[in-house]
Symmetry: C2
Amino acid sequence: MRFSKQRELIKNIVQGTNSHPTAYWIFNKAKKKISNISLGTVYRNLNKLNKDGIIDIFYDNNIARYDWNTVSHDHLKCNKCGKIIDVKMHTKELQKEVWKQYKFEADNFEITVSGICNNH
Amino acid sequence: MRFSKQRELIKNIVQGTNSHPTAYWIFNKAKKKISNISLGTVYRNLNKLNKDGIIDIFYDNNIARYDWNTVSHDHLKCNKCGKIIDVKMHTKELQKEVWKQYKFEADNFEITVSGICNNH
DNA sequence: ACTAATAATAGTAACCATTACTATTTAAAT
DNA sequence: ATTTAAATAGTAATGGTTACTATTATTAGT
Ligand SMILES: [Mn+2]
Ligand SMILES: [Mn+2]
Ligand SMILES: [Zn+2]
Ligand SMILES: [Zn+2]
């Protein structure tokens, strides 16, 4: 993969926020630095960065959000302010439970907790 | 809400499968009984049934799936055969954990476990 | 430095799941 | 039976994402 300033910018934008941004948010941020950058370029590079393990993608209902944090973790989503907070849940117990009851070999847990955050 | 044979059919289709079908799958099934049923009618009624608490909606990556099972539960998704299995995870521990560590008042856990099911 | 090869881009069209619109049909209350 | 408005079929529009294509930019070899 060869260098491009567009990809470098997109990577830095994702790595510079904890807000789990959407592609469109990243696109608007990027336009401030490269005014004619294309939305297609944003999507293409987000997917490329994800395939190379540089960033993570997850879905919030039906839209993609991008995450600089590539180590397996979970999210708390506040119903009042929309904030998405990183957490690491202990899933060892759940893994055992699933194996015991269903003979299901779990290799990934995706947990989204909705509720009310500590700002309210 | 007044009766319609379309809505009745859609409800029965969702309640007659454990497969967590998509709207399009339901649409095709419905066409066998009402050949000129419209995809818009399927979506409209699925949303209406959901609002009335008759069925559940959840998102599998970026597409909606419908579920007859309206009591809070979780899903095991097999990476080999795609099957989605209903389970009830114990989230009381997680709830405590989230409150202790983040002062986050959890009211719903959405857990999707991916792995390999007992058919393989 | 110059050239050649080709990866990456901007701009635009296409795609797919879902929702919105509208004229017509239908359930059901009177 | 008549009336009223909810529901429908058919179609257009929307929003997020991917695909296409002519042009531009990076990089390896000379
Ligand atoms: Mn995160
Ligand atoms: Mn289910
Ligand atoms: Zn909040
Ligand atoms: Zn399986």
